[in-house]
């Protein structure tokens, strides 16, 4: 269990992270959402001990995170960085040894990972010769090669093509299943929605939403409703309890205040004609994010 209690970080007059309290459970994937400058990277750096917190407490299994535990921790920084002039092998064995691995073991592990990512021929290539997406795979390997217990991934999927995103996602899920606690940040709501049990939305250094995904969705209240019908449905625009109305080809998509509104709409629709689709949906994380953080964030 990684626990953050009232963690605050100030850079001069600017407060980057404000009274953040989090509990990140074991063997789970925890999603960190937030716009640019929301404080995600700063929080990660504080968890890793790269930055000192201004106040508050961070502990992992009840103990502070320090360099004595670095072999248990994996980190993929947002700004990707590897030695451009070194070969993949030299590079990763060096980084793995710094994380407490023996050299021979590191080479074996590296080969297994390269095979898994279907790029075994990169072993003796210089990093600068690889494409950006492939560099990112190498970077990912550097974060997980030593089988960390706690893995921190800062925007792991940015800049990858869909095939590679899937490949990496699968690897992350496997790691979780083998017992690694994973914290990752993303701009991409669908990734968090797909992978995480628990999440937190940061806005200007404050957690505006946090908890389990299901819980968050339920407590958000608002639901999405799609109505496709053979008769005009534009009267629903002014129906009480409808907060958003969007016309589509075959009908409309609505956001409603709560589940009950859907039942009222259902009743009104009776006898008006042929209803092709009446679909009540959970709100998407995207909807929640926009509602909480504001539509200013694209």
């Amino acid at each position: 269990m990684l626990q953050l209690t009232d963690v605050t970080k100030q850079f001069g007059a600017h407060t980057a992270v404000n009274q953040l309290s989090l509990e990140i459970p074991e063997r789970e994937m925890f999603g960190f959402l937030g716009g640019n400058g929301a404080g995600k990277t700063t929080t990660f750096r504080m968890i890793l001990g790269l930055l000192d917190k201004t106040s508050g407490d961070i502990s992992w299994h009840g103990e502070p995170v320090d360099y004595g535990k670095s072999h248990l921790i994996g980190y993929l920084p947002e700004e990707r960085g590897l030695y451009p002039k070194l070969t993949v092998k030299d590079q990763l064995t060096y980084l793995a040894r710094l994380r407490g691995m023996a050299k021979s073991e590191a080479v074996k592990e590296l080969q297994a990972w390269l095979d898994r990512f279907q790029v075994p021929e990169y072993l003796n290539k210089k990093v600068e010769e690889l494409s950006k997406g492939n560099q990112q795979k190498i970077q990912f390997i550097s974060a997980v090669i030593h089988k960390p217990k706690l893995l921190i991934l800062d925007e792991p999927f940015s800049g990858l093509d869909p095939v590679n995103v899937e490949m990496l996602k699968e690897a992350v899920v496997n790691l979780k299943e083998s017992g690694t606690s994973i914290v990752f940040s993303s701009h991409r709501m669908e990734h968090v929605e797909e992978l995480c049990e628990h999440l937190c939305i940061l806005h200007k250094g404050k957690a505006v939403v946090q908890g389990s995904l299901r819980e968050i969705k339920r407590s958000f209240g608002k639901k999405n409703l799609s109505v496709y019908a053979d008769f005009p449905v534009d009267f629903l625009r002014d129906f009480p309890g409808v907060t958003k109305y969007k016309a589509v080809m075959e009908g409309c998509q609505l956001q409603i205040e709560n589940e009950l509104v859907s039942q009222e709409i259902f009743t009104v629709l009776q006898g008006k004609g042929f209803v092709r689709k009446f679909d009540l949906e959970e709100p998407s994380l995207n909807d929640i994010f926009i509602a909480k953080v504001g539509a200013s964030y694209e």
Binding site: G49, L51, D52, I73, Y75, E79, Y83
Partner: protein, 416 residues
């Protein structure tokens, strides 16, 4: 500690295997080879062609002694008696059959006199050599005319005996001083080059890790302070390897050479200076390196692009240049008060205190004090450097100024 060795090993092996290292080492080895074979090389280039001088001797007596003297003093000038008129001889010089023409005559007082003709009169060494020889002939003629006894003449020409004795028993003898000057000179130069070269290497190494952003991973695995010192010592090992290679090669080559070359190097004090000088050289060298390397690592951590690293290491280069210039002036006047004062300033101590120790008898407490000050400065710089480094490596931006320095310190500040 284990991580320290991993980083040190990594720094060392990647540097040693790098192309730049191999190329600079090879070039320097070639230079060393050339230097130790300098006599052979000069010979190859010089005995190609002797200067041919046409001589028209109107006195019919000066040519012989002049040619004989010339032969003894220089192999590069060959005199030939010209059989023809002056005009023909000038013609021959113009056609470059001869380098020059010299016409020897006698004055009314029966003293030698000469006129020198050449296409260009820029080759002053040739003119001077001829003039000197002729001057000697003139002295001979003049003294003979004055009726001076040749024995008396020999006595006049004999150099005066001028012994130098230091009354202070512990003072260095003239011979020792010359040797010391040689070894001090070499040490100063070595320190100067080493600091600039390896200081730069550290700064660019740190800047490279920062600019390629690998730094964040590194410092999440190992403490920045460990990282900084592992880097400093790793580069130091690279330097030692390089210097050992050079010295080894130089020593082997000199040993294999003839006695004449060995003598040439012995004049610089190599192989004959006292043991304590070498000890001091090593101590001041290591401390000097540490001082400047710490400074370089600290400054390197402040920049985010390699290009900026060059700019930020300028102050280091200026400092070491100033030290070097002071030391050079101190070689001639090691006892000047100015030298004494600067030898206690930590940034100058490695060069200037070494100079004083090498050339003078410095009381042991003065040496101890300067080393103490130097070590203190290194420790302060290391502590400060570690702090700046910790904050600096996470800082990215275009500018590189003192403001960054403060910012880096603030970033690494601990508040509990």
């Amino acid at each position: 500690m284990n991580k320290f060795w991993i980083i040190l090993g990594h720094t060392y092996t990647t540097r040693i295997k790098s192309k730049t290292f191999i190329i600079t080492t090879l070039i320097t080895l070639i230079l060393i080879f050339a230097l130790t074979n300098i006599k052979t090389i000069i010979d190859v280039f010089s005995d190609e062609e002797a200067d041919q001088i046409a001589v028209i001797d109107e006195t019919n007596e000066l040519y012989k002694p002049l040619a004989e003297n010339m032969k003894q003093t220089s192999e590069e000038i060959e005199l030939t008696l010209y059989d023809g008129t002056e005009e023909e001889a000038k013609q021959a010089v113009e056609e470059e059959d001869y380098t020059a023409l010299i016409v020897l005559t006698m004055t009314e007082n029966k003293l030698p006199e000469a006129t020198y003709y050449a296409n260009r009169i820029s080759q002053s060494s040739l003119q001077m050599a001829l003039e000197q020889q002729l001057q000697q002939l003139k002295v001979m003629y003049a003294t003979e005319q004055a009726g001076v006894d040749p024995a008396a003449l020999a006595m006049i020409n004999e150099p005066v005996t001028f012994d130098i004795v230091a009354l202070d028993k512990s003072a260095k003898t003239e011979e020792e001083l010359n040797q010391a000057r040689g070894i001090v000179y070499i040490m100063l130069f070595l320190l100067y080059i080493t600091v600039i070269m390896y200081g730069n290497m550290i700064a660019t190494d740190v800047a490279t890790e920062k600019s390629s952003r690998v730094m964040e991973i590194l410092i999440s695995s190992a403490p920045p302070v460990t990282h900084m010192f592992a880097k400093i010592f790793g580069v130091a090992l690279v330097g030692l390897t390089q210097i050992a290679l050079f010295l080894g090669a130089g020593y082997a080559l000199i040993s294999a050479k003839d006695a004449a070359t060995r003598e040439l190097f012995a004049q610089f004090g190599i192989g004959s200076a006292s043991m304590s000088i070498y000890m001091y050289a090593i101590v001041f060298f290591i401390l000097g390196y540490l001082l400047y390397a710490t400074l370089a690592a600290m400054l390197g951590s402040l920049v985010s692009r390699i290009e900026d690293a060059q700019q930020l290491t300028m102050p280091i280069i200026f400092l070491i240049m100033i030290a070097f210039i002071i030391a050079m002036s101190g070689l001639a006047t090691p006892e000047a008060g100015f030298i004494k004062i600067t030898s206690f300033i930590p940034f100058f101590t490695p060069m200037i205190m070494f100079l004083r120790v090498g050339m003078l008898d410095v009381p042991i407490w003065e040496v101890a004090l300067s080393i103490g000050l130097l070590m203190g400065t290194i420790i302060i710089l290391a502590l400060l450097g570690a702090k700046v480094y910790r904050g600096g490596v996470l800082m990215y931006g275009r500018s590189s100024s003192l403001k960054d320095f403060k910012k880096a310190l603030a970033l690494s500040k601990k508040k509990k």
